[in-house]
């Protein structure tokens, strides 16, 4: 198992390096001079030239590239072109909000999706199953921002139960900030919930027709035991893989959810960086997103190996 873990980690390194390279190149081919756009159209030539010098833009591309990699290894993201503040500080403030949101949405998706999937599988081809199928397709079709707006209208405006915007004080008062998390997490988690429901249903249906489930029932085991110990355990593998897929996907979708609910987070940084052409912020944020996706994929693979020993060999 240890060898499997080490091998997987080593395999992730070239991908991470390729991702960093891609981000570096993409940011370099964005049209326009970053120094010029940071200083505005009326800046003097000398000022722009000085900034270019300070940002290292006058150095050869290869030198810039190694500087970029070197800074990443030291987790030094440089300074924002617009505000001049260190990006690491902004990231340290924003990242917990994004991770909190993504994690909550994933938990919501699994805790609601898996039981719903099992339930519809047990009611195969009757009214409940059909209703579940229609609802899950509808859930896959709602744009997240639209669903978020509806939630704000109902729970924040009409009923006044939950706050509509903001993220609370996550570091100072973590428990009080939880109520800021509910609506965004549900918004972000909806699409995952429907997808997990559909997958758990088909995974359960596949497993329920297996011989060992029939044997377990024939032995006279309680239905609950058969379902949980025999069937669900075997259906867990595809569920783990789709959970990993969605965790990676939702960390990207969180950009939009943060935008709708005016939550602090990486998404706000990203959209701001694109609109203001703050290219040091842009490359840092993209690198962080991609690094998280690579990490999530790694964890998924490792869980896989843990659940099914055949894979790790």
């Amino acid at each position: 198992m240890l060898r499997y873990i080490i091998r997987r980690i080593i395999l992730a390194i070239p991908i991470l390096l390729a991702v960093f390279t891609l981000v570096f190149l993409v940011v370099r081919i964005i049209p326009g001079d970053p120094a010029q756009s940071a200083l505005g159209d009326y800046a003097s030539k000398e000022a722009v030239e000085a900034l270019r010098e300070r940002m290292g833009l006058n150095k050869p591309l290869l030198v810039q590239y190694f500087h970029f990699l070197g800074d990443l290894v030291r987790l030094d993201f440089g300074e924002s072109l617009i505000s001049g503040k260190p990006i690491s500080e902004q990231v340290a403030y924003a990242l917990p909000y994004t991770l909190e949101l993504t994690l909550a949405a994933v938990i919501f998706g699994v805790l609601l999706g898996v039981p719903l999937g099992v339930f519809t599988a047990l009611n195969r081809n009757n009214a409940i199953d059909y209703l579940g199928r229609v609802l899950s397709l509808a859930g896959l079709s709602v744009p997240a921002f639209y669903f978020g707006i509806l939630l704000i209208l109902i729970f924040a405006v009409e009923l006044g139960w939950l706050p509509a915007v903001g993220g609370g004080d996550l570091v100072g008062e973590p428990f009080k900030s939880l109520k800021y998390l509910v609506l965004p997490a549900v918004t972000l988690g909806l699409i995952m919930t429907t997808s997990v429901t559909r997958l758990s249903r088909s995974a359960m249906l596949n497993v329920l027709s297996e011989d060992y489930v029939r044997t377990a029932r024939a032995k006279g085991l309680a239905e609950r035991v058969v379902l949980i110990k025999h069937a669900l355990r075997a259906a867990l593998l595809p569920i783990v893989s789709i959970t990993g897929f969605w965790a990676a996907s939702l960390i990207g979708d969180s950009v939009l959810t943060e935008f709708i609910f005016s939550r602090p987070g990486l998404g706000k940084m990203l959209v701001g960086a694109i609109l203001q052409r703050d290219y040091t912020a842009l490359q840092s944020v993209m690198v962080i997103y991609a690094a998280f996706v690579v990490a999530i994929n790694l964890i998924t693979d490792l869980t896989y190996g843990l659940l099914d020993p055949r894979i790790s060999h």
């Binding site: 964005i30 707006i149 939009l256």
Partner: protein, 308 residues
Amino acid sequence: MEQDINTLEQPIVRLRSQRERLWHTFSRNRTALLGLIMVIVIVLVATFADDWFVAVFQGRDAQHLLAPFDPAKQDTRSRLQPPDEAHRMGLDTYGRDVTSRIIYGTRVSLLVGILSVALGGAIGTFLGLIAGYAGGKVEDWIMRSVDVLMAFPSLIMGLMVLAVLGPGMSKMIIAIGIMCSPAFVRVVHSSTLSVKENDFVLAARSIGVGKFRTVRVHILPNILGEVVVLASIYTATAIRVEANLSFIGLGVAPPTPAWGTMIRDGTQYLTTAPWISIFPGLAILITVLAFNLLGDGMRDIIDPKSYT
């Protein structure tokens, strides 16, 4: 009592052509059929929003046909007017008819959705076929590149490409096209791997059929079903992503009506004039649902065992 086998009533068997058989299975699948009907209606709405097909020949500007009003006509005195007899979905912040803007907005959604998937699907299928059939170094390079692209969440990738290209409809089509191509590469690659092991491929190769012809005539038709299903589902995704990007403010430029932009404009008036945002959202929901139903139904037909 035994009957001579020849006197038994013979069932009348009419052989169906392949196309007829396909339609037969398709029309029996309620999900697919419902999706198809919805898609056709939506395409008709987009086509006949105005009379461009007549106007082109007469050399004049197109006039609204299916849409009750001109989507750009402003009436600032009656801005934010709630739905009534004339304006079934009310008026927006500039006093423009929401119904008409939704009808015209169908065009942006469909164009971006269909063209981006056509682009991404074509590139993805092409690379997937090459990777699957050629194998070796080529396969390694293509599939590792896909792994790298897959490390970016789809929305982040779309934003990244848009940051390079700048906003606008054609750029959005390219961005979303690039975003969905890796999925096509993966699916086509794995299907090609399994199809090329068939004896008919070996037979074709052994009688001297060239590589390109083998791929085009013997492999591609066998994986086309899966590509079509994926295309339908990704069209749904692409329309949703287009709406997302428009909502953030990176979509089609303002005077052209797009659903995501309309919802964005309405968010400031959610409590006073919710119709500005609610109705375009329903339009997105219905359109995305149509393509999802179609794709889902077709997947059922191709592979009845799984639906995920």
